[in-house]
């Protein structure tokens, strides 16, 4: 099948499905008719898309934790704790990295060793090994919608299993994850894998079942300039739209610079809708999700709480509909369920206290918005141009040409020439722009901002400083 942004034909989709479902025995348990009936039997409050839509309408910010452990019963305990002790609005099932890399035998070993040692030996829930039947126990044990969180370039079987289990949301997209979660997958393959997922969701939608799609947007989570983050998000929503998806969250990681973070959240939907409209799509529901600090966290718990609350506040100031939370254990390891719930609860309280207050937009913030918009549009326009109007092709060529690039990514097919660094005020700029298709205005603005830092601190802004900036927030403040 040749890569393009056309919707997969029924025949082609069917063929691919058969392959996917035979990747592991549990795939055979998926009975599409039955899955549809099951979803339709679930109450509205358990549907991700509906809960998100309602919140967006009310201007409310939903709290969405991450989390997954090796064993089903333990995972149920975790989700109940997040729901009852944390007050989470949306619930997660983070999969383990073996599952993410289709190493189901290793995942099986992880399950067994977890049972033997009495502690979770896996960094997530191996949903595929369990199969839809067992995973449904999780859906039935809680009162909120569940999303599969699986940072993987191989979402096919995982999405089949989790949707069959009754999950109504799926996080991931074909540029973000292949770039930051694997070493050597070609963009083309990653895009196709997520086209599968989007096509699957669109299929379910045709049958009355709303599976909300969410784009991660944080990429490597490492000082991603918002222009790049948004460009990727827009390209991914266009790809999803190509397969028929109409219910989508776009995400973005916080960089902990209030003005820039808020500016990015404020322009995000607008840029998406602009390109969707150009592609003739006028009926996409979009929600904006903000990820609390995705980079190296401070090990000290009091400081970690600060980063978390700050993240909640940025979410509200920026009018995001979802905020994805971190915990005070972040720097060390997978959080205990109590720590995870505490992260949710502290976030929720902050949202409550913020009383839907939005950051007033003065010239500075508006200036940031303008610049982010321009950066994102430069990248997207170039990709579309390189693809002769086809996004999928454009993305592949864009990466080849370095017109799209992702800082600090492990995938060898990202050039990695772009290096982010903070400016004098704290906003994320570019130490090197690599081959990004930026015009004079953007380049000069960027250079002048970096110069401001050099003048202010009398320090050279170089690679060493860029590394320093990555560690800035995790450094003890005392």
């Amino acid at each position: 099948m040749e890569l393009s942004n056309k919707r997969w034909s029924d025949a082609c989709f069917k063929k691919e499905r058969e392959k996917a479902l035979s990747l592991w025995p549990t795939g055979r348990e998926v009975d599409t008719e039955e899955v549809i009936a099951y979803h339709l039997s679930l109450p509205e409050e358990k549907n991700y898309g509906k809960v998100v839509r309602k919140a967006k309408l009310e201007g409310h910010t939903l709290v969405q934790p991450r989390g997954g452990v090796a064993l089903i019963d333990e995972h149920i305990k975790l989700l109940r704790c997040l729901q009852d002790e944390g007050g989470a609005d949306l619930l997660p099932a983070t999969t383990d990295t073996y599952t993410r890399n289709m190493k189901f035998h290793e995942a099986q070993r992880g399950i067994e060793e977890s049972i033997a040692t009495g502690r979770s030996m896996l960094n997530g829930l191996p949903v595929v090994n369990y199969g839809p039947g067992k995973v449904r126990r999780v859906v039935e044990a809680v009162d909120r919608p569940i999303m599969a969180l699986s940072g993987t370039p191989f979402p096919r079987l995982t999405s089949e299993i989790t949707i069959a289990a009754g999950f109504s949301g799926y996080l991931g997209a074909g540029i973000s994850y292949p770039c930051s979660y694997i070493k050597s997958m070609k963009l083309e393959e990653g895009i196709k894998n997520y086209q599968y997922l989007d096509r699957l969701c669109s299929y379910y939608a045709e049958h009355g079942v709303l599976i909300h799609r969410e784009q991660p947007g944080f990429l490597t989570g490492t000082l991603i300039p918002p222009g790049i983050g948004i460009a990727v998000g827009v390209l991914e929503i266009l790809l999803a739209a190509g397969q028929g998806v109409r219910h989508y969250s776009v995400g973005l990681a916080q960089n902990l610079d209030v003005a820039q973070d808020v500016a990015a959240l404020r322009v995000y939907e607008e840029v998406c809708q602009h390109y969707l409209k150009k592609a003739g799509i006028n009926d996409m529901f979009i929600s904006v999700a903000t990820h609390q600090w995705m980079q190296a966290f401070p090990p000290h718990e009091a400081e970690a709480f600060s980063v978390i609350v700050m993240g909640a506040i940025i979410a509200v100031l920026g009018g995001a509909t979802q905020v994805i939370t971190k915990t005070s254990h972040e720097a060390i390891g997978i959080p205990s369920m109590e720590a995870n719930a505490a992260g949710v609860r502290t976030t929720r309280k902050a949202i409550e206290m913020m009383r839907k207050f939005r950051l007033p937009l003065d010239d500075e913030v508006k200036g940031e918005m303008e610049m982010i918009r321009k950066e994102a549009m430069a990248i997207i326009d170039k990709a579309l141009e390189l693809g002769d109007g086809d996004v999928a092709v454009g993305v592949v060529r864009g990466f080849e040409a370095g017109a799209i690039d992702i800082p600090w990514a492990p995938n060898v097919h990202t050039r990695g020439e772009v290096i982010p660094v903070r400016d004098g005020k704290g906003a994320v700029r570019y130490l090197r722009t690599g081959n990004l298709p930026f015009g004079k205005e953007i380049l000069e603005y960027n250079a002048s901002k970096i110069k401001e830092r050099e003048e202010k601190s009398a320090v050279n802004v170089d690679y060493e400083l860029a590394c320093y900036d990555i560690l800035e927030i995790c450094k003890p403040c005392v």
Binding site: D96, T97, Y98, R100, N101, K103, E106, R109, G110, E113, R119, S120, M121, L122, N123, G151, S180, Y181, I182, K183, S184, T220, T222, Q295, A296, P299, H329, A331, I332, G333, I334, P335, S336, A339, W408, A409, P410, C467, I470, C474
Partner: protein, 139 residues
């Protein structure tokens, strides 16, 4: 004589930021760094160390699967005739927040010579490495 170290992240682990930063720091400290990046299998580590006649293997493991991914590594080194190579491991080695003493012990028992906790200072790693490989320290 310049010492050669193999650096990589074991298993299906994509955390590359620390890897890149440590590689640079080791180079700045005068080591010959063979950085094989992320998603490295036990076999890849050993092969690289044989090919380059390395003095040390430095394994990063961030994602939490370190315990599973490092099982039997020392034994494989011995089998491959590299039983004496200096073995260093660091990162977020286990799943969750566990008492460090016991984690440290577990990895020592597995045959590692140095085991570092999350967020260790890179300069500590380097000065230990110099000591362990018999390189004079300036400080």
């Amino acid at each position: 004589m310049q010492k050669t170290v193999i650096l990589g992240v074991v298993g299906v682990d994509a955390h590359v930021v620390g890897n890149k930063i440590i590689a640079q720091a080791l180079r700045d400290a005068g080591f010959n760094v063979v950085n094989i990046g992320t998603f490295v299998s036990q076999e890849d580590f050993i092969n690289a160390s044989i090919e380059t006649n390395a003095d040390a293997i430095m394994i990063g493991s961030l994602c939490g699967h370190g315990e599973l991914d490092c099982q039997g590594f020392k034994e494989k080194c011995i089998e491959a005739g590299k039983g004496n190579i200096h073995l260093v491991v660091g990162g977020n080695l286990v799943v969750g927040k566990q008492e460090w003493g016991s984690v440290h012990d577990r990895f020592l028992k597995m045959g590692f010579n140095r085991v570092y906790p999350p967020g260790v200072a890179i300069k500590t790693v380097i000065s230990d490495l110099k000591k362990d490989l018999g390189i004079a320290c300036e400080d």
